[in-house]
Symmetry: C2
Subunit: 353 residues, 2 copies
């Protein structure tokens, strides 16, 4: 007998490498935004009230919830905020998936879902994407303990459909369980389920500042749903950590959210670069999915993905490769600046036969 | 049947009020530090690299872990960091208390312990403090699934003993379970169990920047223990949220930790004010515990604590009152500046008969 017998053993999520190599590198492996945050963030940093850091932050993060509510046309009570969308999703799993029935999600999707299920001992069932890496609606029309759909999906980049009808059908068919739509990438061309939240009390939408707001380093995520749903999440959050977002996160979050123009301009640039990248990769012999995100998901017709991954790494270009059998011949490449994508293409031309 | 049947229902922890009243108020209810953070924090804010906020922070928080390790004479692998000590404690509960045996802690202690036990469905047993509000060592020498002791304790302010012998006896007698010593307040005169961590692999020590480092608003907490213990905590942390501390928290945390002189000077001032406060309250007819923290715990011999609490609140002086039967006639009063404590005494003189 030892204290180790009572340890919760888990296989943790492995995030993309945060390389510490010296010198110039091109980091296209964790879907960070290629441009700096809005200049409004600079202003917020300049206005920092350092003396106030001795005081706890607002445990409800009300300034940020209010600004988000205003931004999305909701009431602040319909908004939950957390330390990145990972914290928000983790709280949602802990709060809503508390039955013996399996939670459903795709076999190829954000690889944190099964990790949360494991750590919280939540039963789950993987639903295989079809041969075109699309979800099959029918898979989500059976008895279950909850549903999680990333839309657009990662790492495929693919959106469920051109409108919200499929998502609505799934949400409507599952009024007895909570349906989480993870919209981390929605700003890059996806279709949001947001218009549905006033009609369906079992729908939770999760977003992040880490991608389209260029704020991965600030750790801000949020969820939107009806007041009751958000209330339950807050109860659990207050049973884990009362004060999650620190003062800078709340202040800077409010600031960048107000700068709609910068947001739209830079997101448009990323989309344009993504389209160029997809085309350039196709010209080099890659099949590329129809991405609605800030990354592309590409498989070369002749050359092995892991080989390309390793060669790029030698050149200090970091992309993401997954070892799951179904996608082991794909690379997930974050959309960087135009210059970075051009450098990538030059290297690929040297690597490919 | 409804999705609400599968919701994890909890009675959340209720933090001290964060009053939003206008005008001057004296806030002595959440044990915040009365002085601003070290000027090193200002320097760190000025040096903020805003462009880097587009990138994820270091998921291991290595710069901060290294600085903490250096500070305490440990290896970085013996240090875990989280979003305040609440996050660290919550992770420790989730990681180490995974058996059917009850976890033991005092009936009067930090009121978050039973909340974490509830949310993670951990069995626990309360061990009543003795009539002088001290822990009884014998209570912790039986079979158990883990032990948590706040030393010094909150809200009593009382330290376990003048040296580490009692803590060591408890740790030694429980090699089959993890013993957590919550040292949130240790810098104000407590005795740390830190010298024991190399001898006992079942000992975890938890600290925070929220009290003595004047950084409640930044949310930084940490734990120290042997590498194996810290490794298990990191596995669970990486199963919940890979990136917890944001970039400012890591950077500013490193900065304030380096300013040992400011830390010592301001902590000494708080201790001096605490001693003055205890004496002044005694003169007004209060019994005051022997506090080794940045608060005093006081009970008036004639006047009801809740009555005093309400009268002070009317005067915009916020202290903390707990409704638990054994301590309902006590007030927990954070140590403010000398001026704030003088204002408090003036008001108390008016309130008391």
């Amino acid at each position: 007998m030892s204290w180790e017998d009572s340890v919760r053993r888990v296989t943790p999520y492995v995030p993309g490498e945060q390389p510490k190599v010296e010198g110039e590198l091109i980091k296209l492996n964790t879907n960070e935004f290629p441009y700096p945050p809005s200049p409004a963030a600079q202003e917020a940093v300049r206005n920092s009230d350092i003396a106030s850091l001795r005081l706890y932050p607002d445990p409800f993060c009300d300034p940020l919830r209010s600004e988000l509510a205003k931004h999305h046309g909701l009431s602040p009570k319909q908004v939950f905020v957390g330390v990145g969308s990972d914290d928000v999703l983790s709280m949602a799993f802990l709060t809503f998936f508390y039955s013996d029935k399996p939670v459903l999600f795709a076999d190829i999707t954000y690889s944190f879902y099964d990790v949360w299920a494991d750590v919280y001992r939540i039963p789950y069932e993987l639903k295989p994407l079809d041969e075109n890496l699309r979800i099959r609606k029918e898979d989500y029309l059976c008895d279950n303990g909850g549903i999680v759909i990333a839309n657009p999906n990662a790492p495929t980049g693919i959106s469920v459909s051109g409108d919200i009808s499929v998502i609505e059908e799934i949400v409507r068919a599952n009024r007895d369980s909570v349906v989480i739509i993870d919209e981390a990438y929605v700003d890059f061309g996806g279709v949001s389920a947001l218009p549905l939240i006033d009609r369906y009390d079992n729908l939770l939408i999760v977003r992040t500042f880490s991608k389209s707001r260029a704020f991965a380093g600030m750790r801000i995520g949020y969820a939107m749903g009806n007041e009751k749903l958000i209330g339950y999440m807050n109860d659990v959050k207050f049973s884990v950590n009362s004060y999650t977002l620190n003062r800078p996160a709340i202040d800077y979050g409010v600031a960048v959210l107000k700068d709609e123009e910068y947001f739209k301009d830079t997101v448009a640039k990323v989309i344009k670069t993504r389209e160029w990248t997809g085309k350039a990769l196709s010209d080099l012999g890659f099949s590329v999915t129809d991405s609605k995100t800030n990354f592309v998901f590409a498989s070369h017709r002749e050359t092995d993905a892991e080989y390309i991954f390793e060669r790029l790494k030698e050149k200090k270009i970091y992309v993401r490769h997954f070892k799951q059998p179904r996608i082991r011949n794909y690379l997930r490449i974050s959309v960087g600046t135009d210059d970075e994508m051009k450098r990538l293409m030059e290297e690929l031309k040297r690597i490919l036969p």
